[in-house]
């Protein structure tokens, strides 16, 4: 955190000054470790084994926050008899289809849950989980990031599940969890993670003794946790741990995702993502969503705030198509294009290479360096008809045709590349007015300081202009395919500089009512077409016709919550689910951790923050049978976006690779999975493409682990940092970090060159031999890790090879993010040049495959293969 989010880290240091214990778990020793109380080096990709052992420690020592767990989580819910755990199936859950490589989650449901065909249809493109039933016809790999679509709450389930509040029923979630995590022992942590039992226990004791009524602990992760084929499940494990300890919805608690780009949260909320529409509404799916009724059927009428989904959807359609959207034409629902599966970026790149995708816009993003498997990215770019690059500097994704690595090896020839390229210069953040949403969901408005130079323009300007030109070309068309473009509301006022007015766009996002006035909150949205709203969770950012994101009341004039700086979705709430900061009876858990509570005199929830609850609903409220939507939320259920109001220790729906996390090895690993016979995430998705071969695991040809990370002085793919003199001077070259033991083993010299090779490519780096990388002892063997800061490419003031060229594309089945951990070899000296590089990598691949085939033959001959080998 001190490396990648230095200014955010000041609050960790403030906490430390007030007595907090700081624990840093990371493969490398960083600036964070340097000031932490404890640094715990861990093998990259073994996080679930570590976190799972903490869960086990809590459960087997009865250290959970029992009243919180019983009332606020689904610990008491009873799971159906058909469910089988990884304990029963050696690493698989029930419902796995080995041919398709996907789970059918039917058996993971609550006991007695009605087999409602509607359940969970908010994103039925997800090909797994009980929500699909027999409609799960999509081919392998065609889920649609369900977990992300649930970014503002969980999927639909019935809340009528049976509960055993004594937590003793053998099939209640609490008991299932206990059995599932029992094998995650300190000894197993040593075997999987390379962490000693003593150090593990130090962490476990610190965390549990700092949680409860009087105290809370927070878990922060930079998004490295997401870069695994089990990424969603790593974060699920942390969620389970925090729910058991009562650390969610309370001040000082939570799980903080420290994201890496100024508005990456905003571009998820108002998505430039394939699977969702603004506010985490799903993109419609061709099989299920034939009309508006079927689109909202899964949620309309269900419990919790998603029960009003029809109002959110209709208001979005009104903001897209205005007067053309009427009740008679289903509010133009049919204008929405439909998904048929996974259309995520890596599959799009595959489509480019295979000639299906012909035109591409790159907008402040540099995939030739920043996306995994760089070669696939560049081969995709070279296969396009046309490419528009909008950026500040001449990035590698714009120049691959003249100086990319494949030009050097001869795999691509400039004159043969047919891609037509438009480099359109962009405006910087101070040359345009607009809002960013930072990592805690806070929108902050920026005013414009100066005009952009030359031809540079904002993206608002570019896209508004492009839309106008496209519409002009189609004007008068009677073709039905053009109706959505022609009927779209696309008439924004211009500022005195002649640019579209960002305030007006933000106001459209906020939404307007029947009187044309800005709405003040999403509870005002209607499903009859009388309201329009471009993103329901942002409704209120323009309340009272004021740009609330522009508020800048200094922190010294406010309390510590600082509610009048910027605006936080939803409803300016700073801590989500903050009803959980009070006990079931509505009183604060403790004076020390007081945040939001029930005031019996005023008959409402009060406190330092906007209550994340129906403000006048008393703690003893019990919904009537058959109640729907928000009316169905009881007075004690803090998780109001969940249909059962509970925090999920066990996910009965919505997760593609199991209702509970289980440790699997990265797709390329030097070791056998110490926990189960199942080596890898069985539902992982490997992108099948010639340029994406995978190294066999336990290979002596690729004996080491590599992982990548950031440096303080550079930013992502380097377009905004390797071009700046100060930053290039501070970190002037690409390097790898290796332990002294590995350096000795391979003859690597400090400050010398090394070549790092995988089945995809080989790169060269300067060597930093350092104790910051630890040789990890796993049982009777060592595992060595090569650390690679991933910011470099061929352009800019400081240049170098790109570590992302080494990374294979194996994706998490929930969100389709790649696993950044892989295996490699490392050798002293610079890499081969030109064609020799290609044959060098081919030779490695052949040797690894030959050795793996020989091993397979040996294993087939041996009667005790598999687990007994370990």
């Amino acid at each position: 955190m001190a490396e990648a989010h230095p200014v955010g880290f000041q609050w960790v240091m403030e906490a430390k000054r007030r007595g907090a214990k700081i624990i840093h778990v990371d493969p490398r020793f960083t600036r964070t470790s340097a000031v932490a109380d404890l640094h715990v080096p861990i093998r990259a990709g073994s996080d679930i084994a570590f976190l799972g052992a903490l869960v086990n420690y809590v459960l087997s020592n009865d250290l959970d926050f029992r009243e919180y767990v019983t009332e606020y989580t689904n610990a008491a819910s009873i799971i159906g008899e058909e469910f089988r755990d990884t304990e029963d199936l050696d690493g698989l859950f029930s419902g796995f289809d080995p041919e398709k490589g996907v789970y059918d989650g039917e058996s993971w449901q609550y006991e007695g849950a009605p087999q409602s065909p509607a359940a969970g249809q908010r994103d039925p493109a997800q090909a797994t989980g009980p929500q699909l039933g027999d409609r799960g016809s999509d081919e392998h790999g065609h889920g649609a990031a369900r977990a992300e679509a649930a970014g503002s709450g969980g999927p639909s389930v019935s809340n009528t599940a049976e509960r055993d509040r004594t937590l003793q029923h053998p099939r209640c979630v609490f008991q299932i969890l206990k059995r599932h995590f029992a094998r995650y022992t300190p000894e197993m942590v040593q075997q999987a993670c390379g962490i000693s039992p003593e150090q593990f226990l130090e962490v476990a004791e610190a965390l549990t003794s700092n949680s409860g009524r009087e105290r809370t602990s927070a878990i922060c992760y930079a998004v490295g946790w997401t870069h695994h084929s089990v990424g969603s499940q790593i974060i699920r494990t942390a969620s389970i741990l925090q729910l058991l300890l009562g650390n969610i919805g309370r001040p000082g608690g939570g799980i903080m995702a420290l994201r890496g780009h100024a508005s990456i949260q905003g571009s998820t909320d108002i998505p430039t993502l394939f699977n969702i529409l603004p506010g985490y509404l799903p993109m419609p799916h061709a099989s299920e969503h034939l009309d508006l009724d079927s689109y909202v059927a899964g949620d309309a009428g269900s419990q919790g705030f998603w029960g009003n989904m029809r109002a959110y959807a209709v208001s979005l359609l009104k903001s897209y198509w205005g007067d053309a959207a009427t009740a008679e034409n289903d509010f133009c629902f049919d204008y929405l294009p439909r998904l048929t599966g996974d259309h995520s970026t890596y599959h799009t790149v595959k489509g480019q290479i295979e000639g299906r995708c012909k035109g591409y816009f790159l907008v402040g993003e540099n995939p030739a360096v920043g996306s995994s498997n760089g070669k696939m990215q560049r081969l995709g770019l070279a296969s396009l008809d046309w490419l528009v690059v909008r950026d500040l500097q001449m990035i590698e994704s714009a120049t691959f045709w003249k100086d990319g690595p494949e030009i050097e090896t001869g795999e691509l020839v400039t004159e043969d590349i047919g891609t037509e390229i438009f480099f359109m210069p962009a405006a910087t953040h101070i040359e345009k007015a607009g809002s960013f949403t930072q990592t805690q969901r806070m929108l902050q408005w920026r005013d414009k300081a100066v005009d952009p130079p030359g031809d540079a323009r904002s993206d608002l300007d570019f896209y508004y202009d492009l839309g106008n030109r496209i519409r002009k070309r189609l004007a008068g068309s009677s073709d039905e395919m053009d109706r959505p473009l022609l009927d779209m509301t696309w008439d924004y006022p211009l500022t005195e500089d002649g640019e579209p007015d960002g305030h007006a766009v933000l106001r459209e996002i906020n939404g307007t009512g029947p009187d044309g006035r800005a709405l003040s909150g999403y509870t005002e949205l209607k499903d009859d077409g009388s309201t329009a709203c471009g993103c329901w969770i942002y409704c209120g950012v323009y309340a009272d016709e004021v740009n609330q994101a522009r508020r800048r009341k200094p922190h010294w004039e406010q309390d510590y919550v600082a509610s009048e700086w910027g605006w936080v979705w939803p409803a300016n709430r700073r801590i989500l689910y903050n009803r959980a900061s009070a006990a079931p009876d509505g009183t604060p858990w403790s004076e020390r951790k007081k945040y939001v509570w029930w005031d019996a005199d005023q008959q409402k929830w009060v406190g330092s923050d906007v209550p994340d609850f129906i403000v006048d609903r008393p703690p003893d409220f019990e919904p009537e049978d058959g109640a729907r939507g928000p009316d169905a939320i009881s007075g004690v259920d803090p998780f109001i976006m969940q249909t059962d109001g509970k925090g999920w220790l066990f996910a009965p729906a919505g997760v593609a690779d199991g209702p509970m996390p289980a440790h699997y090895e990265p797709p390329e690993s030097p070791v056998h999975n110490p926990l189960y016979g199942q080596q890898n995430n069985p539902a992982r998705q490997h992108v099948e493409q010639a340029a994406n071969p995978i190294n066999p695991s336990y290979s002596e040809v690729f004996p080491y682990v590599f992982t990548s990370y950031r440096l303080t002085e550079h930013h992502t793919a380097g377009g905004m940092s390797r071009t700046l003199p100060y930053l290039s001077e501070l970190q002037p070259g690409f390097f790898c970090e290796v332990s002294p033991r590995l350096a000795r083993e391979r003859g690597l010299e400090h400050m010398g060159w090394a070549t790092i090779v995988t089945g995809r490519s080989a790169i060269e780096a300067r060597v930093l031999v350092t104790d910051r990388m630890r040789s990890l002892r796993l049982g009777d063997r060592f595992v060595e890790q090569v650390g690679l800061p991933y910011h470099w490419g061929g352009n800019g003031l400081t240049t170098g090879d790109s570590p992302n060229d080494l990374v294979n594309l194996t994706l998490d089945p929930n969100v389709y993010i790649q696993d950044k951990v892989g295996t490699c070899d490392i050798r002293p000296g610079r890499r081969p040049r030109g064609e020799r590089l290609t044959s060098y990598v081919e030779d490695y691949r052949r040797r690894a495959d030959d050795a793996a085939s020989a091993d397979a033959v040996d294993a087939a001959d041996a009667p005790t293969s598999g687990r007994a080998d370990r």
């Binding site: 200014v7 508005s263 995708c357 035109g359 816009f361 400039t414 480099f423 920026r446 200094p554 905004m720």
Partner: protein, 188 residues
């Protein structure tokens, strides 16, 4: 001259004045006493936010004669309290970089060099290509006969470094266009 030199000698001020350690007023010369920071002479100060990571540190942008002269942390922010990291502190170089590309560059198919293009022509050419590719790759239904109303011929990557308003217009336009392969750094 000599007298001026003596009176300007910092050691004397250090010995005679209150600043015995020579770390404050004693160390200042006439010249340094009259220096003004760029921030003091700015024509205007504009509130902004750092464009790098997602912490969201507040910035103050100082402008003089239509040029940005300095970018600093804003002490009023409850998030950053005026601090910026090395990247945020280098924001001035980001916006004034001499290697910024400020004119349109065009590479024709199979071309070996960049060429120039004026803005209006480039915008027309891009609009033409969108319309053409969209029409050529349009799909009313997929191979299973399901209505899809889309194109898989046009894709987009980027958004995490842009404004909410920009992402909104992009998604709206692409959706109306029928383009669904719209992605950004959040997936990467």
């Amino acid at each position: 001259m000599a007298q001026g030199f003596v009176s300007e000698w910092s050691l004397l001020r250090q010995l005679r004045g209150p600043d015995k350690l020579g770390r404050g007023s004693a160390a200042m010369s006439t010249r340094s006493r009259h220096l003004e920071p760029r921030t003091a002479t700015a024509d205007k100060v504009v509130s902004s936010v750092c464009p790098f990571c997602a912490v969201g540190c507040a910035q103050k942008v100082y402008v003089k004669d239509g040029q940005v002269t300095q970018i600093e942390g804003d002490p009023a922010s409850p998030i950053s309290r005026g601090r910026l990291c090395p990247k945020g502190s280098a924001s001035l170089q980001l916006v004034t970089s001499p290697t910024r590309v400020t004119t349109i560059r065009y590479r024709r198919p199979h071309g070996t060099e960049w060429e120039d293009l004026d803005l209006d022509t480039a915008m027309d050419m891009i609009a033409d290509r969108v319309v053409k590719t969209r029409r050529e790759t349009w799909e009313w239904q997929d191979e299973e006969g399901r209505r899809t109303r889309r194109t898989l011929g046009i894709a987009s990557l980027g958004g995490a470094t842009l404004d909410n308003e920009e992402n909104y217009l992009m998604k709206k336009l692409y959706t109306a266009m029928g383009a669904i392969q719209i992605e950004n750094q959040a997936r990467i």
